[in-house]
């Protein structure tokens, strides 16, 4: 009997320890969230979404251009990066079995591990230098370089989970392999692929470093893709290090909006990923 009490004690102790570990993990997240909510909410106003930053010395203004810039950058980056990532994954699962596939997988993993500031420098060298100017395009390319490996690998994992019997079913109906890959395999993995895409978007939405010397940032609206453009994370950065109190407030509001966007994207990805796909 003595032994049984001891076992119960050990069991409770282990459970308590795990609970503690969970709390320790959750604490910073909650602190960040609560603090940003507190600081950001009071500075948030309609102006934040409709106005561009006011010149130094004037109070008020917002980050409408930053929000628009971020949206445009993400849209362009997705346009450039998603097809490459998704189609690359189709190639890897359906057509690639040899050394080339191994090389592609390895490069994607390395690319995913490269610090994002280096990715920014790559885009700087490839686009900013030859075009002699910071631009939206360069920013989008930098972000797409971050998206490609994430999308490639998550999509590949999803495609691998599609049962081979579906591929056979389609081929046996006289559907060519490429159509089968796109219309049956990719479609069956659809939700999982979208989940990966959302996570990749969430990842680049908050990226600041790769935009520092590509998109650069802009106090005003950007008119052309070859002009520098504002982005939310960049604006938060430059406003937060500025010496003015109302700029700090705007930065807090920006941080809140960014966190809410990320939270939404991650939640969306989770909800989509949770639905069952195959029986």
């Amino acid at each position: 009997m003595q032994n049984l009490y001891l076992r119960h004690f050990k069991s409770y102790a282990a459970t308590a320890f795990m609970l503690l570990a969970t709390l320790i993990v959750l604490t910073p997240l909650c602190l960040i969230f609560v603090h940003i909510l507190k600081m950001g909410f009071s500075s948030l106003s309609v102006d934040f979404f409709t106005q561009i930053p006011k010149p130094t010395g004037e109070s008020g203004g917002g980050m409408a251009n930053g929000l628009f810039g971020s949206a445009l950058l993400i849209l362009l980056a997705s346009f450039l990066g998603l097809p490459i990532g998704v189609l690359g994954a189709v190639y890897l699962t359906e057509f690639g079995g040899g050394r080339l596939a191994t090389a592609i997988r390895f490069s994607a993993d390395v690319l995913a591990g490269i610090p994002s500031i280096i990715t920014g420098m790559v885009a700087y060298t490839l686009l900013v230098l030859p075009m002699k100017g910071f631009s939206t395009l360069a920013g989008a390319v930098a972000l797409s370089l971050i998206m490609i490996p994430i999308v490639l690998r998550t999509t590949e994992e999803q495609l691998k989970m599609v049962p081979g019997t579906l591929r056979e079913a389609s081929l046996a109906l006289g559907v060519p392999l490429w159509r089968t890959s796109l219309k049956v395999i990719l479609k069956s993995a659809g939700k999982g692929v979208v989940t990966g895409i959302l996570l990749a978007i969430a990842r680049v939405a908050g990226e600041t470093a790769p935009l520092l010397f590509t998109a650069l940032g802009n106090q005003f609206w950007s008119r052309k893709l070859t002009e520098p453009i504002a982005a939310l994370p960049l604006q938060i950065f430059s406003f937060a290090i500025a010496p003015y109190e109302d700029w700090h407030k705007l930065a807090w509001a920006g941080a809140l909006v960014l966190v809410v966007i990320m939270f939404g994207l991650n939640l969306g990805a989770r909800l989509l990923g949770r639905q069952k796909k195959y029986s």
Binding site: T165, L166, A172, L177
Partner: protein, 253 residues
């Protein structure tokens, strides 16, 4: 034999160093059911899959010899395997309807996936195909619901409907009842009886009673070789080969 739809002439299949099917020669007669029986791993599925060139996707697989279909060699360089698979359909071991499609779209999947669908005749194709597999009455009120909600037997009949919807000439069946219960099996067997009026059917089965019930001819394979083939009645009553007799009477396999 007369009216041979598909003829294997000295056919071999290799997977790398594994010689899976060894110089098999066999004729499949039009509008009949041929059963291929034999113990697991004897090469019957491999043989079946070489008839609609499913092995093309396996890099290590090599098919030699001839497979004649309506007088021309299926493995000739000029033959497009995709076109072949439209004429030689296949039903698989496990029912495999497309999970992202509803019942209706599953039936016309062969057209839809190839963008060869005309809206006007798709309704008709769906109805006739489902009626032919005796599934129409069971699903006509829920054609737009997911095919995954059907029972296993219904799913398999749906897969057969999907196969006949593209109007093949030959239907290959790879143990189509092995994942089904006895009642669903019976329905598929009755269906095979009816389908042979229009199609040439080759069915691989583990179940000897099934072979005896549904087929006109039977071929017995063992270790990659064709041991004996002939009219089903003869194979099951007076087999010429000792191995065939042992297998059929349940002494091994």
């Amino acid at each position: 034999m007369n009216n041979a739809k598909v003829t294997l002439e000295n056919m071999n299949v290799h997977f790398g160093t594994n010689h899976a099917v060894k110089s098999v020669s066999l004729a499949f007669v039009e509008n009949t059911v041929t059963a291929i029986i034999g113990p697991s791993g004897c090469g019957k599925s491999t043989l079946l899959r070489s008839i609609n060139r499913m092995h093309d996707l396996v890099p290590s697989a090599k098919v030699t010899g001839k497979i004649m279909f309506d007088g021309s060699d299926l493995y000739d360089r000029s033959v497009d395997p995709v076109a072949i698979r439209r004429k030689i359909g296949m039903v698989f071991q496990k029912p495999n309807p497309f999970p992202a499609m509803n019942i209706y779209d599953n039936v016309v999947a062969g057209y839809k996936l190839n963008n060869r669908m005309k809206r006007s005749d798709s309704d008709e194709i769906v109805e006739t195909s489902l009626k032919r597999v005796a599934l129409w009455d069971e699903v006509k009120d829920r054609l737009r619901t997911s095919a995954m909600d059907l029972s296993g037997g219904q799913q398999q009949r749906l897969c057969i409907a999907r196969t006949i919807a593209v109007q093949p000439e030959v239907i290959l069946m790879d143990e189509p009842c092995s994942a089904l219960d006895p009642i669903a099996t019976l329905k598929i067997e009755e269906l095979v009886e009816e389908l042979k009026e229009r199609y040439t059917i080759i069915i691989v089965t583990h179940n000897m009673q099934q072979a005896a019930r549904v087929s006109d001819s039977t071929a017995f394979m063992y270790m990659g070789e064709m041991i004996e083939s002939g009219p089903t009645k003869k194979i099951f009553t007076t087999p010429e080969n000792k191995q065939t007799e042992d297998y059929i009477t349940g002494r091994f396999g």
